[in-house]
Symmetry: C2
């Protein structure tokens, strides 16, 4: 049986037999009917949560995807080609879903501001993905060849720049200086987080606090902004705005912690990226910090050689995973993620019960469940 | 004698013995006194024009440079370190000068909006330079090692992203949606121009019109926006705003045409970058298009091999320059630049005479004179 999520997703994208097939027809056909292409669905129990959320937001999501396709257009055809490779490739569209859900939970009624801002969020996210893949020299993204692998690093850098600029054009069209303030701050914070990650690479003296600064910046800041914007378009009082920002920040932290655990623990086909990427790049993530802190001198020399000095042999990843199992490093990371999810849920306590609130509570659990 | 431009420039930057020396003292010392570091001065007759303009705008420029230094700060120290490497390395600061000059010519009096927006313009420019150098794999910028050569491609991409986000934060603080619209549009257009340049690389069928689209996008759009913004902060009527945008667009086109000529004609030490970079990268610029169009079959095969197929030997650059001389390709390019400069000057005819107008007319000539 085709999962409901995938069925819904089919309804959200323009027709085409492949991602590039879709793309080829995009540049000058803004009126393309919306249908058919299947984004990658998440596996596991969390899927039902997203299915439920999509059911509640179906019309908004269709409008959001249409806005994304329209606004990634450009007379320079390589731009929609490359953008569609990554945007149309699917993904969970979790961030724009959060904007739409937050706005609707807050009672948003008029117009399409929430849709336009959800598209902005996805553009900012997509721009960072394009630049991340260049920076990380990744060849896989969501189980497909990454944009830089297909179109080259140069095009990925420049199209990322275009999408970021386009996101700001969309915000300007929306006309709210407050939204612009939140999202320009988020864009700066994301870059700061990414640079901090670069600075902590190969550095086993990185503290857990610093690691959390990295993931707050590179991942959670955009989740926070995505949710906060939902309160802004509905002119909610500051406490509700802050609660939604807090919720987003915590599910972002949980999300990235799980990502960092999966990099050492996942089924590669399910993950849609190469297992062990973080290890090979010498990224200092929580699983590494936990195993390193708990390790004896011999183990610490192993981490120093492989992560600190980037001297790795073919068997090292397997040994790293053994050491993590010995010290329950993955479990500790997932526990920390579960704590973030619980904090996220607690932030929503000030909102009255509603189907959307229930879905958002479920999304917090989903950030953890996708690793189990 | 130290040129006046260099003397002025000394007064505009924080103290330090080297660019990195400056940087090291920046991150947590926003109150740094402003003095000492010498940006690279332009050579030739044009220098007097810039000197005169700087004389008229000295206080504004000092304030602008202080704003730049303050706003490239971040607790992530690699960001101000890398940013200062490129920002403090000098350059002509032509774009922010244009914003300041346009605003003052239009009678701007109150506050520091023009200063803040001039800093935005420089941040956008710097972000594109950082990404350009990654995309072009350049190792020299303004006669110094490029940021990517010193700090790596990854840091250059990410700090570029940070500076672009920071530029938008500054615009949001300014609070004008009109300015945000102009500059977000410019940022998107720059990226489009860069991607189009990538698409025309190695393509000798590129038309002159398409080449002009490239340079309008990658270079002239920001010059146009820099000037237009000066009219916006003074609430000038649409005709004056359009005239300043037109002036900026045309000096931007002239500026890039001269740059493209210099890549085949300049004294390397004076140019501050490697002569022949465009040739080696297979960029299809006007000097190439002119020589290719005028060449016989034998010559066209040479261009096809070296630019079209990127198969180059050590002697090819010298031969390319010979062919350009034979067909007056550099002269034709500079003539086209002179035409743009003349058009730029004509656009200013609707403004009453003033010392600043005289300077801006001189800047148009400077875009051409720096190649003679």
């Amino acid at each position: 049986m085709v999962p409901a999520f995938a069925q819904c997703a089919r309804a959200l994208w323009p027709p085409g037999e492949s991602h590039l097939g879709v793309v080829a027809s995009l540049p000058h056909s803004k009126s393309n009917p919306v249908a058919e292409v299947v984004p990658s669905a998440p596996g596991g129990d969390g899927e039902a949560v997203l299915d439920a959320l999509i059911d509640l937001l179906r019309d908004d999501l269709v409008a959001c995807n249409r806005t994304i396709v329209e606004h990634m257009d450009s007379p320079v055809v390589l731009i929609p080609q490359l953008a569609a490779h990554i945007v149309a490739a699917g993904g969970k569209r979790l961030r724009p879903l959060l904007t739409l859900a937050a706005a609707r939970m807050c009672g948003y009624q008029g117009g399409l501001r929430h849709v336009r801002l959800a598209a902005c969020i996805e553009f900012i996210h997509t721009a960072t993905l394009l630049h991340d893949d260049v920076v990380d020299e990744s060849t896989l993204r969501r189980g497909l060849a990454s944009a830089n692998a297909v179109f080259g690093n140069k095009a990925s850098v420049l199209v990322g720049d275009f999408l970021l600029a386009r996101a700001f054009q969309l915000m300007v069209a929306d006309g709210s200086l407050k939204v612009l303030e939140i999202l320009s701050q988020a864009a700066a914070t994301i870059a700061e987080g990414e640079v901090l990650q670069l600075a902590t690479q190969n550095d086993l003296d990185t503290t857990e606090a610093r690691y959390l600064d990295v993931i707050r910046g590179k991942t959670a800041a955009l989740f926070a902004a995505a949710c906060q914007v939902g309160a802004v378009v509905t002119a909610r009082p500051p406490a509700q705005e802050a609660a939604l920002a807090e919720y987003g920040m915590n599910i972002g932290i949980g999300f990235q912690l799980v990502d960092d655990a999966l990099d050492y623990a996942a089924d590669q086909a399910k993950l849609g990226k190469t297992v062990g990427d973080d290890f090979r790049e010498g990224k200092v993530t929580l699983p590494v910090l936990v195993a390193y802190a708990a390790g004896d001198d011999h183990e610490r020399r192993f981490w120093q050689r492989t992560i600190g000095d980037s001297e790795q042999t073919a068997d090292d990843l397997a040994h790293a995973m053994d050491l993590m199992a010995r010290h329950h490093a993955i479990a500790a990371t997932l526990d920390r993620a579960a704590r973030s999810a619980a904090e996220a849920k607690a932030s929503l306590s000030i909102f009255p019960d509603s189907p959307l609130k229930t879905s958002l509570l479920g999304v917090a659990d989903y950030t953890v469940s996708r690793a189990r």
